[in-house]
Symmetry: C2
Subunit: 439 residues, 2 copies
């Protein structure tokens, strides 16, 4: 993308109402614009990150055998009356009345709707196990939306729902999602720690939050330092096999959010491994058995002809929240430092003298070559001062910068800068491309 | 995708309330499930088509230089009061009050919101021309939702908005979208005819609807048969150049919807070229100049330092409606006949004897080989009767079917069937893959 044709409204001002660094940086880099309390437009730069995160989550859900569909944003009140949650949700639920005076709502989550889809079609154990997911906008009418996209009202969530014949099967499905989550967050450059958590309005007796550590996190969290060093299960994990070992590796260690914290248990960890920190919840998984299937009569026939309520779990990832979460975890004094997998562009190309015909030609050719190599490139072809170009590139945090100037051209090299380390190297363009591709 | 692991709730029943063939077929093939009047869940098969259409539209918008962002579904009433449309929209607008008694709405379109984004950032002619688009769910509270996804209440629309300094520039932007639309529809296997149209609640004095012909179309349409034979501008069209020739090629011919129809003008077409038919609107473009920019004070400075309201147009494509529209245009007595570009899977692989070890092995290998070739494959590995497998494949309408059976294995061939022509060929798998890839 040529910057002269892009829409990147970068601003120098730090807005007064932006309390945390991710919110400040998202406004300064023109990633989002607030349209109302907790409601945002995702401007082009922000939208690219949102899409990349959504795609990583999609790929890891698919790898674990979940099947994608898409439920609507607007739901009928009846289903929530059936489950008994229509009143439970209180004022956080955005209630709507249509022109025929029918009660509807903007879905804050989808347990009821997916259970209705399930019971409409599935009658036999033979169709199980089944895991259906979607990524859709949700609305929760928070009394005080804050922290930008981290606690917005309209937010993008991936939510998956598993259906199994037995509790044992449901726990296996839970474990699959547990592992898929570890892989998905790992691909985003995050260390997400699964922690015992309260189940809240979703219900059930087994639940883990996936937490990334950041000083600005909303929750106090406590865990064993050893968990931070465990590698993700890996993309070659056999999801058809037994993945409980990968889960046990984590659950053997102490890790809990404030609500579930047990000071005595925590005290048993060797002192130098006691991590007491703040964290941001980026995922939450639940096993709740037959809570919804019983209330809504979602049953299947067993091999013996018996009719039993289906065993369910649900699994959420805060896709839009992750954009803020990643920035909280990945920034420095000059701006954002994107992990390459979720960066809006993988490389920023800076032409030092766009008015100089030779420089313009070499930079245009480099732009072409980078795109041919399959890279997302933001090409700064503006006539601004080099200083402001460098500052902007640092601020928006693309992992690599390639600078094209007259001196380099004479020597047949470009300058390649790594945003995270700050390291600068002079090398031929072809080698720079290889370095960027290697990540 | 292995069918034994997929969620494809095909049904033999034709629902009584489904009046048109696309609605019937979408329910029978398990593409959608209705969750309320005009509100649908996109089941896995339907969701895949929706995604493919969205992606084609995205690629053609990007090719024409438009920039993608994402506006929220919920908007503040204030902006619509500013433009004066808050009352105009009447009961079709889904109005919502939040917990703080603020008036909001579920966006039926986004002229106001994008104008607000624009005026917040753009102050100078130097940033122009600019074309911003998104693909987002909209809601129109139709009094009688009908025809399935063709006239739903919650629907997916791509809407683009162009901003130019001069009316001449705005007309050039309009022409770019005109051509991008022709290309996008052409890639979906559709002949979409641009027709003069009324501007309705969007406003302005220049507008074209893009109409595909189908007996079940909602509108009566009239045009010169010669228009049907014009090739699309093509993906190599230079959008930086003057594209008005491609537009004139069409507007030189008579083509109008009922509202704009002029019997006398129509009568001047040679009789054998007079097409009087029914059509489905799949796109609608508008030039409305300064209607919103004046009302909402969206101005830019000219090179002379003058402050002028920006010239705007808006450009919609009904992404979810297109799924139904394509089926209306592409089906036969056995079911859907997908154009390959939007088919949920490009090829269906049928194993005739999944319990026979040799057949299972050859079919598994073929599944692997098809995926390696970059094709989307639905692999029917169920143990159902061949007849019901063939019927289901015909019903869901994948463009190609590959059948693996014991006799073919003996001869080193597979059976390749073209869904549209019905033609069956026996050939080695590698050649079948090449045929499928060639489309």
């Amino acid at each position: 993308m040529r910057l002269t044709r892009y829409f990147l409204p970068v601003s120098k001002d730090v807005p007064a109402d932006a309390a945390i660094v991710s919110h400040q940086l998202m406004l300064r880099t023109g990633m989002v614009r607030q349209n109302g309390a907790g409601i945002y437009t995702w401007l082009p730069l922000g939208f690219r990150v949102l899409q990349k995160i959504e795609q990583i989550v999609r790929e890891e859900m698919n790898r674990a055998g979940a099947i994608e569909l898409l439920m609507p944003t607007i739901q009928q009140a009846e289903l929530w009356q059936e489950s008994g949650r229509y009143d439970d949700y209180g004022k956080e639920m955005l209630r709507i009345t249509d022109r025929h005076e029918r009660e509807m709502l903007f879905g804050p989550t989808n347990e009821e709707l997916i259970t209705d889809v399930f019971r409409s079609y599935v009658k036999s154990y033979k169709a199980l196990p089944l895991n259906l997911y979607h990524t859709q906008w949700k609305f929760r009418d928070e009394i005080r939306p804050r922290f930008g996209v981290m606690r917005g009202r309209e937010f993008l969530m991936k939510d998956a729902y598993s259906f199994d014949l037995t509790e044992e099967g449901a726990r296996a499905s839970y474990n699959q999602m547990f592992c898929a989550y570890l892989n998905a967050f790992d691909r985003m450059g995050l260390t997400a720690i699964p922690m015992q958590a309260d189940t809240g309005p979703i219900g059930g007796d087994l639940s883990h939050e996936f937490i990334i550590l950041a000083d600005t996190g909303e929750s106090a969290v406590f865990c064993d330092k050893a968990m931070l060093d465990l590698p993700a299960p890996g993309l070659d994990l056999d999801f058809d096999g037994d993945v409980s070992g990968e889960v046990a590796k984590r659950t053997d260690f102490y890790a809990a959010t404030e609500e579930k914290h047990d000071e005595a248990e925590f005290g048993k960890i060797p002192t130098d491994r006691q991590v007491s920190a703040r964290g941001i919840e980026v995922g939450h998984i639940f096993f709740f058995g037959t809570k919804y299937s019983k209330a809504m009569n979602a049953t299947v026939q067993t091999a013996d002809g018996e009719t039993v309520p289906v065993q369910m779990g649900s699994y959420g990832i805060g896709v839009s929240r992750l954009v803020g979460g990643i920035i909280e975890a990945c920034h420095d004094e000059n701006g954002i430092v994107w992990p390459q997998s979720v960066a809006p562009f993988e490389v920023g190309l800076i032409s030092m003298r766009p008015k100089d015909e030779t420089v313009a030609k070499v930079a245009d050719d480099a732009y072409e070559a980078l795109q041919q190599a399959g890279l997302d490139v933001l090409y700064d072809d503006t006539e601004e001062r080099p200083g402001s170009k460098f500052n902007r590139m640092d601020l928006i945090g693309l992992p690599w910068q390639i600078v094209i100037g007259p001196r380099g051209i004479e020597n047949g090299v470009v300058e390649l800068k790594n945003r995270k380390s700050g390291e600068k190297t002079e090398l031929p363009l072809a080698e720079a491309i290889e370095k960027v591709k290697a990540g």
